[in-house]
């Protein structure tokens, strides 16, 4: 009886625990990555002629550079195991997907291996990014032409 009760209790609780834990871990990991990026942006704003808005481009590039180093030394995988979506959703996760695929398929050659495998995950992200940008811009332009909304 006690064992049954325990098993039932465990079943009730156990799916919840990883979810809450995962959410907390994702929040912390993603938050820290964005915090680091904010400091990188401050660096570009202080020492170069970038405004708040234009600093985001070099910041993204720098974060992907960090991602390259972490991926190359096998550390990003560890961050991913801890952070889940917290490491996949930031742009560093996108960089990691591209970079790790590029390194993995190096042995098949630069054209057939690196070039074609680089975009395995990134390809779908780019496809949907470009396509949705097109659709949204088209819809908005038509709505503006009809006078429903303004720019």
């Amino acid at each position: 009886m006690d064992e049954k009760k325990y098993a039932k209790l465990e079943q009730e609780i156990s799916p919840k625990i990883p979810l809450m834990k995962n959410i907390l871990k994702a929040f912390l990991t993603g938050g820290i990555i964005c915090l680091v990026a904010q400091f990188v942006a401050l660096f570009y704003m202080t020492y170069f002629d970038f405004t708040e808005r234009t600093a985001s481009n070099p910041t993204v590039a720098t974060m992907i550079f960090f991602s390259m180093l972490l991926t190359g030394f096998g550390l990003y995988k560890k961050i991913g195991q801890f952070g889940g979506a917290g490491s996949a959703v930031p742009i560093t996760g996108f960089g990691n997907a591209v970079i790790s695929a590029a390194i993995e398929h190096k042995s098949e050659g630069y054209v057939l291996g690196v070039g074609s495998n680089m975009f395995k995950l990134a390809g779908s992200v780019i496809l949907f990014g470009v396509f949705s940008a097109f659709v949204v811009a088209l819809i908005k332009t038509i709505l503006v032409k009809l006078g429903v909304v303004s720019w």
Partner: protein
């Protein structure tokens, strides 16, 4: 136990947001006047505006350069507020070239500019800042 953690965590977030609210109290506005214009009106306008955290204003020859920093939750609409301010300032000082920026970078540079002693360099710097502001929009 996990539930407790989550509750603590929620509490933490609430505290952080409250702290964000508290840190917004100070309102410092810095004005430097190198022209014959009357700076009282702009000072009053900026002080009265609850959404503004700090600002730097520089009158130089025919230029009026203003950089403002918004309070945390006004940052959402800071570009709109900036345009609003620019419109009002153009009404107040119709014969000046009014430029308003809500960018932190511009505020940083403005503060540097106002600490500068050499007056002949100021015009050049202003030109550079204005091109930076333009580049952004």
């Amino acid at each position: 136990m996990e539930g407790m953690n989550i509750r603590k965590f929620g509490l933490l977030i609430i505290i952080v947001f409250l702290l964000l609210g508290c840190s917004n109290v100070k309102n410092d506005i810095r004005v430097q006047n190198n022209s014959s214009e009357d700076p009282v009106k702009i000072k009053e306008l900026l002080t009265k505006d609850e959404r503004i955290k700090s600002a730097a204003v520089l009158f130089h020859e025919r230029e009026l350069l203003t950089a403002v920093r918004m309070k945390t939750f006004s940052r959402f609409s800071k570009r709109k507020i900036g345009k609003e301010l620019e419109k009002k300032l153009k009404e107040y000082y119709p014969e000046l070239n009014v430029t308003v920026s809500v960018d932190n970078k511009i505020l940083m540079e403005m503060n540097k500019l106002m600490d500068m002693k050499k007056q002949e360099k100021v015009s050049k710097k202003i030109k550079k800042l204005k091109s930076l502001i333009k580049e952004e929009t």
